[in-house]
């Protein structure tokens, strides 16, 4: 009943005029996962009691569309935890202002923009989601590399996101191309193509389809794999030999923000000891040197030293190459 009254009152207010943004309100756009957002915001709110932190969560792709559509009159003060390959789009960089958050100097150069517009203390990884029940039923061998997926027995048993629609799709394609070399990489993707049942538009869909037994292998995200395993699905998370693709979750300050003090304070918080402590609970991939992610990794069934499973990725090259790679991919594999 109380929520009803509250929301009615709220709707009365919102049906009227959009209240001008108050000085002590901060609007944050993010693509981090719901559960971690809740924990981080609670802590950040306690650290910044005078600022009301309002968070809008959208998936990486939709957040990009929203940011670009709003470019004429940006609504966000901060972009927080968003795929760096999207962040490095010139249309987005144009909207950002360089800011050196407190404590950001500890990050190696590869984890922050040369222009100071973004920094990324955390990241996420791709993974193969393998449905063990279906694998057994079909009598298939457990795949441990991209090359294993060439096996004709996997025909129509593999799903992968389309890099033209999904950042996760590009994450995998880019990792294959960069870790194997361009020519060998394309050859690898071509060898797997006949076995691909579908190229999906969503990055988590391959894992979600694999976990309910629609397909055997979903080339997808480690987060979805871990979450599915925790829920009890008969799923194995596999990192392909030779390295799996990963993505940095970058943050930056919007140049248009009318509340830069609070925005900067929030960005400072994301590099604070308190924040880094929370990353250790939620994140398997932390780029802050000397910070041990083993607890979160171990809980998720990952190797303690995560760097052993990651592909060598040059994010600047990944960003500059992406238009050409996506076009070439569409030419070769578009269905």
């Amino acid at each position: 009943m109380k929520t009803w009254i509250q929301t009615t009152a709220l709707s009365m207010a919102t049906l009227g005029l959009a209240a001008p943004a108050l000085a002590d309100e901060l609007t944050v756009y993010t693509a981090l996962e719901e559960e971690e957002i809740a924990a981080y915001v609670e802590a950040a709110q306690a650290a910044m009691p005078d600022t009301e932190i309002n968070v809008l969560r959208l998936s990486t792709g939709k957040l990009g569309a929203r940011l670009l559509a709003e470019a004429g009159n940006p609504q966000a003060d901060v972009i927080w935890g968003w795929a760096v390959s999207a962040m490095m789009d010139p249309q987005i960089l144009e909207m950002l202002e360089p800011y050196s958050a407190k404590g950001v100097d500890v990050l190696p150069d590869t984890f922050r923009g040369a222009d100071g517009k973004w920094f990324a203390p955390i990241g996420y990884m791709g993974a193969f989601c393998v449905n063990t029940a279906r694998l057994e039923e079909k009598g298939l061998p457990m795949p441990t590399s991209w090359a294993d997926l060439e096996n004709p027995a996997f025909k129509d048993e593999i799903l992968m996101p389309d890099p033209n629609s999904s950042g996760t799709g590009y994450l995998h394609v880019n990792a294959v191309l960069q870790s194997m070399g361009t020519e060998a990489g394309w050859a690898q993707l071509e060898a797997v193509d006949p076995n691909m049942a579908q190229y999906t538009s969503s990055g988590s869909k391959p894992c979600k389809s694999a976990r309910v037994g629609e397909y055997t292998v979903g080339i997808s995200l480690a987060f979805t794999a871990m979450q599915s395993i925790e829920e009890g699905y008969p799923l194995a998370m596999v990192f392909p030999e030779g390295g799996v693709g990963y993505e940095l979750e970058a943050s930056g300050l919007m140049a248009s923000s009318d509340n830069k003090e609070a925005a900067k304070a929030f960005l400072d918080w994301t590099m604070s000891d308190e924040a880094i402590g929370l990353y250790q609970t939620y994140k398997a991939l932390i780029t802050v040197p000397g910070v041990d992610a083993s607890k979160a990794a171990e809980a998720a069934g990952l190797p303690a030293d995560i760097s052993t499973v990651l592909a060598k990725v040059d994010f600047v090259r990944a960003a500059t190459d992406q238009t050409a790679v996506k076009a070439q991919w569409k030419e070769k594999f578009g269905r």
Binding site: T7, L17, Q75, R134, Q198, S204, E231, Y233
Partner: protein, 561 residues
């Protein structure tokens, strides 16, 4: 305005002028809405589509037209649109015919089940089909074979499920008002039932059938949700837009495809209007409502077919409701309420706000299309025609394009419309205009059956437009208005594609909560939340229907006094 200058002492003249003013207002208000909230945002999308590196040109169009992917998607979209239209209109006619022209018990059941796809969040339909017909679905497992649902056939079923209730609504609006006396006359003259059907029912329903076909075709070629989850690799134009805008942040190219989607729609609607010109409009006065009598062969087969379709719909939605209580579909089938304990993504808080928004969209929208339909009847064809095409266009715009167009338009401080940005009012508005076509065409189909002579008689007896509208037109058209209201209400409760771009940190709606839960991997919780939304919508619709029935009974009692 010249009309005001003519207001003289002459009473008949004054009434005439007042009527003209009222006609202008009837058309004018909804038209201003259509221009501000549809034409203007789409004009901005058009500008984006011709923007190349900061200046204007057709380079984007050339690039899109030159890509093989575009033509493949176009071919797929047209084939899918045609197949879905044929299937939906065929099945929709069977159901509407069964409901309004046949006599069998249990129609309330068909009427209730047929609207379920409208009030089901898109996730439900997708999950339902996969749980039933997927490679690891119930039917596949029971039969021991793997059905390959992903691709053309799955997409056809999903699109038909969604289009069917809209086809029934529009065809129903044409069939509900047929005059019983023509059938009696045919009976007396010894016309067998199949001839009555061919020579009376089909011609009378033609306007409704064509409108329904137009709607089914348009919503199919613009739909993204079904294509993404069950279409597999069957690329369509809406997935092209998604991949341009969301995948590659290539706004202007997405705008090009969005604008091109308007073309087949405008063409098909114009052809349809042309075809309709040849048909005599309206009915004679003094209609007698048709009361079908039981005819075993006709009614039993109609009832069986309708029930079969309903069983299909019910199983798709029912299985998701069931799965929301299952611990771990399909691996641990014990029942548990645990998925209903939703704390992430704002929990249940968005549900109430969504009801407020949906009621506003439905009420405002129903009044607007009624006024527009009323006014259009009194305008010369040359003026009415372009307005009708504009009013029928919104369905041709994919929700994602409309949502982004709203950001581009209303997030600009250049106009006072900026005040709407970030408000619940704007979400209600986008919901109405997203479904404007269906609402408008249903009301127009209803108006088509209204005898002009009735209005003329009222006019010559001295009733002005206001009184005619209230006492003659509104009661006649009431059943259509009620279905339009519920249609707008149900769609507003669950539609996602446009509103996902208009929610703010403080203002979310139920469909966005469902998406966020699913994004977080909590598909069962998303199904549980969807079940709650469907339950709330059912409860709301039932209570509103009960209120209407009560009010109807009271007015009837009053009239009898």
């Amino acid at each position: 305005m010249s009309v005001a200058g003519h207001t003289t002492r002459h009473p008949a003249r004054r009434r005439f002028d007042a009527d003209r003013l009222l006609t202008l207002a009837c058309v004018g208000l909804p038209l201003i809405g259509l221009i501000l909230f549809f034409a203007y945002p789409m004009a901005i999308v058009f500008l984006r589509s011709i923007t190349v590196d900061g200046s204007y040109g057709l380079g984007n169009y050339a690039e899109v037209l030159g890509s093989s992917g575009f033509w493949r998607a176009t071919r797929h979209s047209l084939v899918m649109g045609g197949a879905t239209t044929a299937l939906s209109v065929f099945l929709g006619f069977i159901i509407a015919h069964g409901l309004y022209r046949c006599a069998f018990p249990g129609k309330w059941l068909i009427r209730s089940v047929i609207v379920l796809p409208l009030l089901a969040p898109s996730l439900v339909q997708a999950l339902g089909l996969i749980f039933l017909l997927g490679r690891n679905g119930i039917i596949s497992r029971a039969l021991g074979i793997e059905i390959e649902i992903y691709g053309f056939w799955g997409l056809l079923i999903a699109n038909t499920l969604y289009a069917l209730p809209q086809a029934v609504m529009i065809i129903g609006a044409a069939l509900i008002l047929l005059d019983a006396r023509t059938y009696e006359a045919a009976e007396v003259m010894g016309a067998p039932p199949w001839r009555q059907f061919r020579d009376l029912t089909i011609p009378a329903a033609r306007f409704g059938i064509l409108n329904a076909a137009f709607v089914c075709f348009t919503i199919t070629i613009t739909d993204f949700g079904n294509a993404a989850v069950i279409g597999g690799d069957y690329s369509v134009l809406a997935t092209e837009i998604y991949s341009q805008v969301v995948g590659q942040r290539n706004f202007n190219m997405g705008a090009v495809v969005g604008i091109m989607l308007l073309l087949p729609t405008v063409i098909s609607y114009s052809i349809e209007r042309q075809a309709m010109k040849r048909q005599q409009a309206g009915q004679t006065t003094g209609q007698v409502a048709y009361r079908p009598e039981f005819a075993a062969l006709r009614d039993l087969s109609m009832a069986a077919l309708s029930l079969l379709i309903c069983a299909g719909i019910l199983s798709v939605i029912g299985i998701v409701v069931y799965a929301s209580f299952v611990t771990l579909w399909p691996y641990n089938m014990t029942l548990s309420p645990k998925h209903y304990d939703i704390t992430l993504a704002g929990g249940y808080s968005s549900l109430w706000m969504t009801i407020v928004i949906s009621l506003a969209a439905a009420a405002g929208g129903t009044v607007a299309v009624f006024l527009l339909g009323l006014g259009l009847r009194r305008l010369p064809q040359a003026i009415a025609q372009p307005i009708q095409i504009l009013a029928a266009m919104p369905a041709a715009v994919p929700g994602m394009v409309l949502g982004l167009a709203y950001i581009l338009t209303f997030n600009s401080t250049a106009t006072p419309l900026y005040l709407l940005y970030g408000t619940a009012a704007l979400i209600a508005i986008v919901n109405f205009y997203h479904y404007h076509t269906q609402a408008f065409l249903t009301v127009m189909t209803g108006f088509r059956q209204l005898p002009e002579a009735l209005e003329e008689a009222a006019g010559s007896l001295g009733a002005g437009l206001g009184r005619t509208a209230r006492d003659i037109v509104a009661p006649f058209i009431a059943p259509m208005l009620v279905s339009v209201f519920f249609f707008l209400f149900m769609r507003s409760m669950v539609t996602l594609s446009a509103v996902v771009f208009l929610t703010t940190p403080d203002l979310s709606v139920a469909a966005v909560t469902i998406m966020r839960l699913d994004d977080a991997g909590l598909t069962s919780q998303a199904a549980a939340f969807s079940t709650c939304v469907m339950a709330v919508v059912c409860a709301a619709v039932l209570s509103m229907k009960a209120t209407l029935a009560l009010m109807g009974r009271r007015t009837m009692a009053k009239g009898a006094e």
